[in-house]
């Protein structure tokens, strides 16, 4: 009866070891990764980039953080959700607009 348990515990142990190895791997990779990211960040700083080059399928998807000349609807009125990237970008959380009308300069300065 007890013959089974070494095998199963061995498998569980192997799973634990796999996860532990991976945790160790990620620890070992951290300095190299940080150095690589620092070099990317250096490129971002020197070139003055603002966005990741993840969504290149359409011009309006390339710079989600900025508005640009080539906004949605430019190709056709139906092109708003033309590309799959649209599924990944959330609706602005605060809704559209700031929610308040601002008058006067004191308020702006705050």
């Amino acid at each position: 009866m007890t013959r089974r348990s070494p095998l199963v515990f061995g498998l569980i142990g192997a799973g634990c070891a796999l996860l532990a190895l991976e945790a160790m791997h990620s620890k070992l990779m951290t300095p190299a990764g940080a150095a690589r990211m620092a070099r990317s960040a250096e490129l971002v700083r020197r070139a003055g980039l603002t966005d990741l080059a993840l969504f290149t399928e359409a011009r309006f998807a390339r710079n989600p953080a900025l508005a640009d000349l080539h906004t949605a609807f430019q190709d056709s009125p139906l092109s708003f959700e033309h590309f799959p990237s649209g599924t990944f970008a959330p609706r602005p959380a605060a809704g559209f607009g700031q929610g308040t009308l601002r008058f006067g300069t004191e308020e702006d300065a705050r």
């Binding site: 348990s5 199963v8 569980i12 799973g15 690589r36 971002v44 070139a47 980039l49 966005d51 990741l52």
Partner: protein, 380 residues
């Protein structure tokens, strides 16, 4: 060894023997369970690593971007504004940025053409720095092969490579063509003294809010985007992406929970007899429940370990091959990037909550029902 430990050990031994007798059924359950965990874990690991990378890399983006809006749309910004912005106290440097897109009819890709902010990085006239994906998608075989861009039929614009941007920064630079200002203006037929937008560097990050307010007053029509906003955009994007993935996987978790409940409540005749015998030889209901919890615990633990372990390999050794096509969409250019592995307690705990909890919740009542049945009833 305390009696408690000894008892648990004996229970584990018995459970394993019992599980081994129903090997196929348990292995099948384990595999499906591990698959469900694998999908969720892959999504979590992938998005956490991307989020981390975006956070670190975009921390060096310009502190403030000033964009001109005309009739609600982005428009070129005049160079005169640079001086106005420079006059604001606390502003370190103001530079006009030139960037634009080019749709390449040869391969259907969109490139981003840009003049680097740092003058030392600007390539000489007629030359350009290419992002990682460009030579790949245009089939530029050798390092010195020139790139020809055609803006309209019959047109050819030649750019000689001044170098290639490193492969390791592909995530920010895959589709970039960095070129000099004269070339850029000539290529897009752009008048002098206008820029796409303006990058403002601010020495003291605590003053960003004040300076944004002042710039807003100075240029009421402009759109001001701060570095924090850029960074938050990506944080939200990847949180959302991950959430959608997991919410979709939630359906499979639910299906799995129903499957597990079904399996646990429809005990086979053999299992029922086994429980009956155990109770007849003096096992307590508590012992039976503990044994069944051991069984569930072993299956959960095994599935969790292997699902997560494989997900790590999938994301970091095989570059999330199963997700790439989803993220890639219709892009011709997709950066060939390798993420730096990240694994932490929050991910693992959240994953554990999302997978083991439904399984346990689904199986515990059937387990109890089987365990409390009278021996004579079961054996009959």
């Amino acid at each position: 060894m305390t009696p408690w430990v000894r008892r648990q050990q004996a229970l584990a031994d018995y459970t394993l023997a019992a599980m081994a007798r129903r090997r196929v059924k348990n292995i099948g359950l384990l595999l499906i369970y591990a698959l469900v965990i694998f999908v969720i874990a892959s999504a979590t690991l992938f998005s956490t690593a991307l989020r981390h990378e975006a956070e670190i890399v975009l921390a060096e983006a310009p502190e403030l971007i000033v964009q001109n809006l005309v009739m609600g749309r982005h428009d070129m910004i005049s160079a005169e504004i640079i001086e106005e912005l420079e006059a604001i106290r606390g502003v370190g440097g103001v530079t006009g940025r030139l960037w634009g897109y080019f749709y390449d009819r040869v391969n259907g890709a969109n490139y981003t053409l840009m003049v680097p902010l740092d003058p030392k990085m600007v390539p000489p006239a007629g030359q350009a720095l290419f992002g990682e994906a460009l030579p790949r998608t245009r089939g530029l075989g050798w390092d010195t092969a020139p790139l020809f861009l055609s803006r309209y039929p019959g047109d050819l614009f030649r750019l000689d490579p001044a170098g290639r941007l490193s492969h390791e920064s592909a995530l920010v630079s895959a589709d970039l063509i960095l070129l000099g200002e004269e070339d850029f203006r000539a290529f897009f037929d752009l008048p002098p003294a206008v820029y796409t937008d303006i990058a403002v560097s601010i020495r003291n990050s605590r003053e960003i809010d004040t300076i944004v307010a002042k710039a807003g007053k100075l240029l009421p029509n402009a759109r001001l985007v701060t570095r924090d906003e850029i960074s938050r955009t990506y944080q939200k994007l990847f949180y959302w992406r991950e959430g959608i993935m997991v919410a979709m996987a939630g359906a499979s978790v639910l299906a799995f929970a129903i499957f597990a409940a079904e399996k646990a409540s429809g005990l086979s005749a053999e299992e029922t007899r086994e429980i009956g015998i155990l109770k007849a030889i003096g096992w307590d209901t508590r012992d039976v429940i503990a044994m069944k919890l051991w069984e569930g615990g072993l299956i959960s633990l095994g599935a969790f370990l292997f699902g997560t372990g494989l997900a790590y390999l999938h994301v970091f050794a095989f570059d999330a091959a199963l997700f790439a096509s989803v993220l890639k969409g219709w892009s011709v250019i997709y950066p060939d990037f390798r993420l730096t592995p990240m694994i932490d307690g929050v991910q693992l705990t959240a994953l554990f909550f999302l997978t083991v909890l439904p399984y346990t919740a689904a199986t515990i009542v059937p387990i109890w029902r089987a365990a409390t049945a009278d021996p004579d009833q079961v054996m009959r």
